[in-house]
Every structure is written in C-alpha cells, then in structure tokens.
C-alpha cells in the first residue's frame, strides 16, 4: 500500500514525461511536482494534453518516455489506488440513463476498496452518508442521479471520490456544463476540502480566470509545461505567460481553428 512512504512530501512526481497516441507527441518532456497539501490548477487550451497527462498519472495510459511516482512510489509498483479519488469529465464516462440513487452512486466509490466477495457493512454505509454530507447533498440521498442538475451531479461524483478517504483528489474539467453561480460554490467547496480536510487537489481546467482565486499552485500545459509555480507568481506574469503559451503554438491553434482555446477570461 506504500504507507511507509506516507511521510514523504511528494504526492505526484513526473519526470521528463513524453506521450504520443500515434506518431505526434501530445505531451513532451513534462516535469511536474505536486507537494502534499497543494491545490494545483492544471490549465491549458482544449487539446493541450491535460486529460492525457491525468490518464498517464492514473495508469490508464503508459507514456513512451519518462517516469511517474505517486506518493513517492514508482507508478508501476504503486498499489494504493484507494488513496486517490478521481472525478472525470462526467459527460464522457458516466452513463446518464443509469437509474441509480445518489446513495448507490456514492457507495460505488468504496467498491474497489472493499474488495471481492464482500458487501457494504454498516460502517461503510455510515461513510457514504458522511461523504454525501461533506458535499452538502444529504437532502438528495435517495434521489435518482439522472434527476439532478449538472452541478449537483458533480457534487455527487466528488462524494463518490471522497468516500474512500483519499489523500489526493484529481478533477478533470469538473465544471463543464455547470452554471457560473454553481461553479463558484463548487470551487469554494474544493478549497474547503483542501484547507480543512488537508486533501491534495489537482484541478484540470481550461477556465483560468475563476480558478486563480482558489488554487495554491498553477501549471500551464500545452504539449510542453509552460509555467509551474505558485499562484501569486502566475498572476504577476499571467499576460506574459499567456502570450508565450499562444506564441508557441500559433501553428497548432490556426490549424484547429479553435479560437476558444486562445481566449483568456478577463474576470
């Protein structure tokens, strides 16, 4: 389980990672470090390789070059998956027609931990209720997940990730399809999880503006890692940083005609 490494300060260490799906690299020479207790905002335009990087971290994809350590242990040997909570872009993975209640969905977060041939005990159920409470969704415990709004569903998925008491929570574009007001509440909740419960957070987003009020560290990704440091340094050099980001990749952006990827929210 790697608990003997618990004292190390490093939660994620990525060294010179490069990854390609086919012939072209989507990530090149990425070196990234996430310390315990950090709230990292990993930003970059659409198609910048953010989600791919996360898939590498979670062992879903294997990079061609470089290595990854989680909680001080090489990914290949890492087995403490119950220490990591993951919230994906919901539209991509969750089966929206699935008739499950909030309670059923959140308890799924425990299944990997409980192991084969075992069932939920009273203690497990208590944990499920607590996780639902943490995301302030107790009133909806027996509600069908399909009947909830986008923001509420995303809270449920956070609860599902929290129920196994993770030390690290990775969120991939969790606010896509969530209205502005809910997004702010959502970020506030994440900040609380980070500060009050001491959970290390990695938030992947293309929405740079809103996020900088909440995170402690920022990493800018677009195939290469363009910036990696604390939020204050990032805000000081934000404009410069953005032009570097675009300057570097103008050919790619025009190729995609993806202008939305160039816009930096002014808020």
């Amino acid at each position: 389980m790697g608990h003997r490494h618990q004292l190390t300060d490093s939660v994620i260490q990525v060294n010179h990672l490069s990854f390609k799906y086919t012939s072209q690299y989507v990530l090149e020479d990425i070196t990234l470090h996430v310390r315990k207790g950090a709230f990292l905002g990993l930003v970059g335009p659409n198609g910048s390789g953010k989600s791919t990087l996360v898939k590498c971290l979670l062992g879903i994809q294997t990079p061609q070059q470089g290595d990854i350590s989680l909680f001080g242990e090489p990914l290949k040997k890492f087995s403490g998956w119950d220490r990591i909570g993951y919230v994906s872009q919901k539209a991509n993975s969750f089966n929206s027609g699935f008739p499950a209640t909030v309670f059923e969905v959140v308890s799924m977060g425990l299944y990997g931990k409980i192991g084969l041939f075992r069932f939920l005990t009273k203690k497990h159920k208590q944990k499920v209720y607590e996780a639902i409470e943490k995301v302030e969704m107790s009133a909806y415990t027996n509600e069908n997940i399909g009947n909830l709004s986008g923001g509420q569903q995303q809270r449920v998925f956070i609860a599902r990730a929290l129920v196994s008491d993770p030390d690290l929570l990775i969120l991939d574009e969790p606010t896509v399809g969530v209205d502005v007001h809910s997004v702010q509440q959502f970020y506030t909740m994440l900040k609380q999880l980070n500060q009050e419960h001491g959970i290390t957070l990695v938030l992947i987003t293309h929405d740079i503006g809103a996020m900088t009020d909440y995170v402690t560290d920022v990493a800018c990704l677009n195939k290469h890692l363009h910036f990696h440091g604390d939020t204050d340094t990032f805000t000081e050099s934000e404009n410069e940083m953005m032009s570097t980001l675009y300057g570097h990749d103008v050919h790619m952006l025009t190729h995609n005609h993806d202008h939305s990827a160039c816009e930096v929210p002014t808020s």
Binding site: L58, I60, W81, D82, I84, Y86, S88, N92, S93, F94, N95, G97, F98, P99, A100, T101, E104, V105, M108, G109, Y111, G112, K113, I114, L116, F117, F119, L120, N142, N144, R160, S164
Partner: protein
C-alpha cells in the same frame, strides 16, 4: 436430487420456467444499464449452433451420444460471448458490429449442421420456440446447475458489475479488476442464455432477458428496484406463459412473450398515470 426424478413433465417445465424467470431479468438489468441487451440475440443464435453441433455429434460419434446437446450449446455460447468482447475491442468505434457478425455466423453454421444431422423438424421447432413439455430430467438438472452458478457469480460480483456498468473508467481507477470482471461477465451471459433457451426457445431468449427489465425500468427509481421488479415481472411472464400455453396448446415461448409484453404495457400505463 432424488426429488427431481419423481416430478411429472409439467412440474419439470414449471420449475425450469420459475428458475429461468428468476435469473434472466437479473442478467437483463446489467445488460440494460450497459446498453448491450442486443447481445442476447447474437448469443442465442450461436447457442443454437452448439446444440446443432451437439445433436450432430451424438448421431455421428457413438461415445458422445450420452452428452446433452445443451452443454455444447453452453460451450458455443461461451466462445461467442468471449468473441463478442474481443470484436468490440477490435471495432472500437463500431462496437455494435460484433452482434451481426456473431449472429450471422451462428445462423449460418446452424443451418449447415441442422441439414447435415437430419433430425425431425419438430425437434428444431422446440429448440427455436421453446417447449416446456420436452424438458427432460437431464435438461432440468442442467438448468438448475447453471442457474446456481449464475446466481453465485451475480451475487458475489454484484458491486463490481454495478460500478463497471455505471462508469468503467472510474471502476478501473478505483481498483476494480475491470478486464477480469468483463470476462467473468461474458461467462455469466453464456450461462444464462444457454440455460434459458430450452423453455423459451432460441428466438425468444432475448425477450426473457430484456422485456421484464424494459418494464421495470419504467417505474423503478433505483437499480435495486429494477432488479426486484424485473424478477417479479419475469416470474409472472413465465408462470402465466407456461399455464396459458399448456391450455391453449401453443408454443410456450410465444405465450411467455405475450404476457411480458402485456406487463410492459401495464408498466408504461402506470408511468403515464404517475406523471399525469
């Protein structure tokens, strides 16, 4: 299992029906939420190939003549099930192609084997549309054994199957052995299909797996309720279908489906009323 031997043919048929009506909707619920109920159609046809092969072999080769063709059916169903899983990976963006490929292979091979074995058409008719009066003692023990296996797999792996159906990516990230579970799930599908086909028939196995849960999802509010209501609907369809087919002297599978459809319409009506 001495008590089995003392049963009359109609009792055997009813017991087989009750067992099938219990197990099929549970599998159906998982297929439903994975959006792959259609898989039952492909596998039932490849099961027919196995049965035809079994009958052909028992005629041609003396030392396998004791073997119940249902076991061959299961074997083919299992191979088909694993092949579909593989085909779905090969045709990543056209997963549904796996179904017609396996289905037509099954029908084609069945046609060859059936014509080669030259059995009476009534025997094939029973396999295609189901018949409770031909459930032999050997058939019934096959059904009970496979049902027990299927129930064991489904209850021990319930939470793994559930989380994989809901969100496969999350399942693998949270440490569920997704690949092994998917293989086990293929075995489970093969078990249930080959088990159910004797009573409801190859052409109607899919109905028994799909229709009860198609009705239950209309009114169920959780996955648990889909299962429970599905079992209730499955039992009513089975028992109602068996009794009516016996008195009307028509194919059992047909009457089972008719009752299922009536229940489906009833469930839709209830839903309408709830929302009115």
């Amino acid at each position: 299992m001495e008590w089995l031997e003392s049963l009359t043919f109609i009792q055997r048929g009813v017991i087989a029906g009750v067992v099938i009506g219990f197990v099929s909707p549970i599998l159906g619920a998982f297929l439903l939420v994975r959006r792959i109920t259609i898989i039952s159609e492909a596998l039932s046809h490849i099961t027919l190939t196995g049965i035809a092969a079994g009958i052909f072999m028992s005629q041609a080769i003396a030392f396998v003549s004791f073997l119940n063709p249902l076991y061959m059916g299961f074997l083919f169903s299992l191979i088909g099930s694993l092949l579909i899983e593989k085909l779905r990976q090969w045709y990543k963006h056209f997963e549904e192609l796996a179904i017609p490929i396996i289905l037509s292979t099954g029908v084609g091979l069945s046609a060859i084997l059936m014509s080669a074995s030259g059995s009476a058409t009534t025997e094939w008719y029973n396999y295609l549309f189901g018949s409770i009066i031909t459930v032999s003692l050997a058939d019934l023990s096959f059904i009970i054994i496979t049902a027990l296996l299927a129930i064991a797999i489904m209850s021990f792996m319930y939470k793994e199957f559930l989380v994989i159906s809901f969100d496969q990516e999350f399942a693998s990230v949270s440490g569920v052995p997704v690949k092994r579970m998917n293989i086990l799930f293929s075995v489970l599908i093969a078990l249930v299909i080959s088990m159910a086909m004797k009573v409801v028939g190859i052409l109607l196995v899919g109905a028994m797996i799909t229709l009860p849960v198609a009705a239950s999802i209309q009114i169920a509010k959780s996955f648990r309720q889909i299962l429970l209501l599905g079992i209730v609907f499955g039992q009513v369809s089975m028992i109602g279908g068996i009794i009516s087919s016996y008195y009307l002297n028509v194919a059992t599978g047909g009457m089972v489906v008719v009752v299922s459809i009536l229940l489906l319409m009833l469930a839709m009506g209830i839903k309408k009323l709830q929302h009115a």
